[in-house]
């Protein structure tokens, strides 16, 4: 009895000798509530007050559905592309020493720092049909700016540092010895990379993917400049929310926001779940 009770109580007791568990947990919960939960709850409350019929009518509005589809599909594509190039960039930064490495390392963080609108305008200038790269692609029939492709380009630019910065430290930890061990066992360079190094990076890559995806779904500033914002073609959901707000159609705005919130939450939850599973599976935690 006693042991059962103490085991049950253990979860609520300070689990380590370091004091302040109650204080910090309380602070975290209060903070999250004020900053995130209350605004989101207000959102859900507002859209719930519409009633089911209105809610479904607004969700199933073709323009809304198109905008949601564009937002999530471009974010997904951009996140996948970022995983590939982010891992390559992290590899270069971790494994090789070349002149200007520190500068490249710093450049990776720039998308964090510059206003996203600036990034969007700069990308538009380059990828517009009369721009530096756009003019080269135009004869090939490839239109980047003012199309969904432009949205993907903008989201790649914005999301890259998330992948690089999550993968880089883990890659740094993989010791040279592990690669040498694989080589001494007869593995080719290719086998070493695909069977030893990349699987070891899976949890970090998933984290980077989730962050880049989340950022891509919510991105607004850079996209509206390059997308052209043509309804049903290149209009993203966040922009549609703003448009509805400007029309004083608060109901529609909250409905779009709520649907985005639900889908995003489900996706992130799924990724977190896979990540936790792979971390356990790969023995990072016991």
């Amino acid at each position: 009895m006693t042991s059962a009770r103490s085991a049950a109580r253990w979860h609520w007791k300070n689990p380590s000798v370091i004091p302040g568990f109650g204080l910090t947990l309380g602070f975290t919960l209060a903070y999250l509530t004020l900053i995130i939960l209350i605004p989101l709850a207000a959102l859900a409350w507002r859209s719930a007050s519409l009633g089911w019929t209105d809610f479904l009518r607004l969700v199933l509005d073709p323009r809304t559905l198109a905008a949601l589809r564009i937002s999530f599909s471009t974010a997904l594509i951009a996140a996948v592309v970022n995983v590939v190039f982010g891992v390559v960039a992290a590899w270069v930064l971790v494994r090789y020493n070349f002149p200007g490495r520190r500068i490249v390392d710093a450049v990776v963080d720039l998308p964090f720092a510059i206003p996203t609108a600036v990034a969007g305008i700069a990308l538009t200038a380059i990828y517009a049909p009369n721009g530096l790269i756009g003019s080269l692609l135009a004869p090939l029939g490839i239109k980047v700016a003012y199309s969904p492709l432009g949205i993907v380009v903008a989201l790649i630019a914005i999301g890259l540092p998330f992948v690089v910065r999550t993968v880089q430290p883990v890659m740094q930890e993989i010791s040279q010895e592990v690669e040498e061990a694989a080589a001494s066992l007869g593995a080719s360079r290719f086998q070493t990379i695909f069977r030893v190094i990349l699987p070891g990076l899976t949890p970090a890559i998933l984290t980077g993917f989730a962050l880049a995806l989340a950022r891509g779904i919510g991105e607004y500033g850079s996209v509206i400049f390059i997308a052209g914002n043509i309804p049903f073609v290149s209009e993203i959901a966040p922009l549609l929310i703003v448009i509805r707000l400007e029309e004083f159609d608060y109901g529609a705005a909250t409905v779009i926001a709520t649907v985005m919130l639900i889908i995003s939450f489900l996706m992130l939850f799924l990724i977190n779940f896979i990540q936790a599973w792979s971390r356990r599976r790969f023995g990072y935690e016991q």
């Binding site: 040498e180 001494s184 066992l185 007869g186 070891g200 016991q286």
Partner: protein
Amino acid sequence: MEIRVEKIRKEFDLYPALHDVSLKIESGELIALLGPSGSGKTTLLRLIAGLEQPTQGRIFFGNEDASYRSVQERNVGFVFQHYALFRHMSVLDNVAFGLKVRPKGQRPPKAEIRRRALELLDMVQLTGLEKRFPNQLSGGQRQRVALARAMAIEPKVLLLDEPFGALDAKVRKELRRWLREFHDRTGHTTVFVTHDQEEALELADRVVVMSQGKIEQVGSSDDVYDRPNSPFVFSFIGESANLPVRVEGGVVHFHGAPTGLTAQRDGEARLFFRPQDVALIEEGPGMTGPVTSSRRLAGTRIAEIELGSSQEPCHVEIEVPLEAAASNGSILSFRPTRWKLFY
């Protein structure tokens, strides 16, 4: 598989790590590369494995020149100091890795790979742990997984880099004995690097003592301990004391006084002896001085004696019988019974 290292030279950024090292390792031998850090012992091991390329010189496996073969082609089993296990693979997958990455024609069927991996795990006494991940094992178990993994490719040679360096003393002793048995059973040519002389002397058929990128001495444990061929080996292996002496007319003099020891060649030299190879004497020529400290060590007593003048004192430690009067300040005279001069 016999290994011959011929005049190997290795430079890192123009700093030489090995100077023209030559070594012959007999087939089936268990050999230790022993030396302080920076002596080049790990570099030599990595050169044999093919993890480094020599600046000059050649390495033969049997009669074949393996100098420019890649590490994949050399078919050596290498065990790393920090195990270098693949932490995203189970123990079984770790051991099976070397077989799974073989090109299609040479790869055994899946069931056969599994059977062999399980057999190896049995050999390293880890039966039942095949589903675990490396993080769920103790240090000693991880090291044995690393060994089983290296053995899976049926290597011609087994190379171990500080195999017990990261383990605690008790596990280290167990694994040491276990490795000796393992070697005797499988008969692989085995080379291991260590900085622990006790480990090298206890485990190896022959010990290669290295210092500053050179081989100082190669020999059995008895050779390097009882017949060291250089001042470095004498002071590196075991306890020793050394004194500046002068040989005049065939008699060894310390500080102008005869010591009762004789030598063939005259001149300045250093006298080396081990603390236990001395005899206390009542009279006659010897070395005399006050005891500055003494401590009990298991069955004996170690006394530190101050020799020479008070301006430039030399301190030596010698073993004295428990019943000898060796309190601080008492004067003791002794003479080395086994000793060696290096001119």
